[in-house]
């Protein structure tokens, strides 16, 4: 056993890659039921969406691209499904070039399921550059900042945008992102105008957002794929996020086992050198 562990210290890393691939593939092919814990942060965001008044719109800020699609896509899908179910109109916005198109594909898929129409139930403001400058301009005058939607239609001609002038007509902003764009929304919209703000982030960013949850600057948080899975459970609409949780669990266990094995082997190799 000792010799085996010592030899495993120098194992080719490609065997570790194969192990990960096999573990995850088997979990996806042979699913099993594990209980899902709903965190208070996810429930809080769910409740915030439930509280949005029907006469206000929601901004779904799809601030992500293909690099973080694995986590942000299920989050965006879950939020959009909730909004469509409640009949809340929403607008897609992004400071990432790919964001609006990736989010539009999700909205169109859900629209077929819930019989929703573009321009009436949702619209897509497209890609808008500018960070804090854009957000401050948006807060003061939405039609003049957006001008046209992703298809080139003037905002004034989109039925759901009738009466939407500035940030006071927005009931909630949910940002999905793998980067620090949320800082701009917190600094220039939430803290100035008080518009409720939720965040669906990649898991790697989640620990940094808890101070904002604590201070109330964020009303809720979806942390990675797990956050999306929890939201799907609250919606009773199992999707790819929930189905991925088994594989996620086993991958985490694999990492923990490898850390332990690696350290045991390391301790033994130090002992044998002495």
């Amino acid at each position: 056993m000792r010799d085996l562990l010592l030899r495993l210290q120098n194992i080719d890393r490609r065997w570790l890659y194969v192990t990960l691939a096999i573990v995850v593939t088997l979990c996806l092919l042979f699913p099993f039921n594990l209980p899902l814990y709903i965190s208070p942060q996810v429930k809080s965001l769910y409740d915030a969406v439930e509280r949005v008044p029907k006469d206000k719109i929601v901004i779904v800020a799809s601030e992500w691209d293909a690099g973080t699609r694995g986590e942000n896509l299920p989050q965006t899908r879950a939020i959009m499904e909730h909004l469509m179910r409640r009949g809340i109109k929403f607008a897609i916005l992004s400071q990432y070039q790919q964001g609006p198109r990736l989010a539009e594909a999700i909205a169109e898929e859900l629209a077929r399921k819930y019989n929703k129409k573009y321009g009436i139930d949702w619209c897509n403001w497209g890609y808008k550059i500018g960070g804090g400058m854009m957000l401050q301009a948006l807060s003061r005058n939405i039609p003049k900042t957006i001008e046209k939607d992703i298809w080139g239609t003037p905002v004034e001609k989109i039925p759901m945008m009738a009466g939407v002038k500035d940030i006071r007509d927005v009931g909630l902003i949910v940002v999905m992102s793998g980067s620090a764009v949320i800082d701009g929304y917190i600094a220039f919209i939430r803290s100035v105008y008080g518009t409720p703000l939720g965040f669906g982030c990649t898991a790697v960013m989640a620990p940094e957002q808890y101070p904002f949850l604590d201070s109330g600057q964020l009303v809720g948080l979806l942390a990675g794929l797990m956050g999306a899975a929890q939201y799907e459970k609250l919606l009773s609409s199992p999707g790819r996020a929930m189905r991925a949780m088994n594989a996620q669990s086993m991958a985490h266990l694999l990492i923990i086992v490898l850390i332990i094995l690696g350290n045991i082997g390391y301790a033994m190799s130090r002992g044998s050198k002495r």
Binding site: R13, P35, G67, M133, K144, I255, I256, L261
Partner: protein, 249 residues
């Protein structure tokens, strides 16, 4: 008439640039500092004088700055084209990779515009292949490769050699188990103390200890951000960009 106004404006703008070029080198640093200061002054005054006449200008100024920053879109592209076109023309090693880069860039631009403004099913399909069939999966897969590197790092590099590393690992294990259903399953049995289930402990670690620690770090960042913002706004910064302006640089 409109075209004349636009062309006239372009000529006036071009003349202004020529005028700038003809200025003495000693003036350059002051012009840059003045532009930087005025740009920052607008947003700073808007902050300290809320709901003043400046607030009404937020939207048009923001629009103008958004358009100006959008014009930088060609910077990266020009650089890439220069480098890779040179590789192809001089047949440097790997020149076919450079050729594929230029061809794919051209293809995306052509079919991107054609799909946007045209109405062709075939063009739409080609664009779909380029975007959903290549760009998105390529980017997605590049980021997902990190999963394998984390596995390798966890086995080979994560060594518990000190109290700090031990604390870090214990916290990591609790959070890793608490964030996935396996943690809930492990702590659902009757003998596990109520209120101390793994997901609840992980959540407590994140919302109390981690939150406080990150906030402490954030306060330090905030102080640094104020200092840096002031230094940039008042052109007090030193460095490659800020120094080499007056001379030939």
């Amino acid at each position: 008439m409109l075209a004349l106004k636009i062309i006239g404006g372009a000529i006036v703008g071009g003349a202004a640039i020529l005028g700038l070029i003809s200025l003495p080198p000693s003036w350059r640093k002051w012009i840059i500092a003045l532009v930087t200061f005025i740009a920052g002054l607008f947003y700073f005054l808007e902050f300290v004088l809320p709901e003043s006449f400046l607030t009404d200008w937020l939207q048009p100024v923001g629009n103008a700055l958004m358009v100006i920053s959008a014009f930088a879109l060609g910077l990266g592209m020009v650089n890439l084209i220069l480098i890779h076109a040179r590789n192809v023309s001089q047949r440097k090693p790997g020149w076919y990779n450079s050729l594929s880069l230029l061809v794919s860039m051209a293809a995306m631009i052509i079919f991107g515009f054609w799909n946007r403004y045209g109405h062709s099913h075939i063009v739409g399909k080609i664009y779909d292949v380029l975007f959903n069939g290549m760009l998105v999966p390529l980017q997605n897969t590049m980021f997902s490769i990190l999963a394998f590197y984390i596995v390798s790092a966890a086995y080979r590099a994560f060594r518990i050699k000190s109290l700090e590393a031990t604390l870090m690992m214990i916290a990591a294990v609790i959070v890793m188990l608490g964030q996935v259903p396996i943690g809930t399953w492990l702590s659902q049995w009757g003998w596990w103390p109520k209120g101390y289930k793994i997901p609840e402990v992980a959540n407590w670690l994140l919302t109390v200890v981690n939150s406080a620690a990150v906030r402490g770090v954030g306060f330090g960042i905030a102080v640094g951000a104020i200092a840096t913002s002031l230094r940039i706004w008042l052109s007090l910064e030193r460095g490659v960009y800020f120094e080499q302006i007056g001379g030939g640089g």
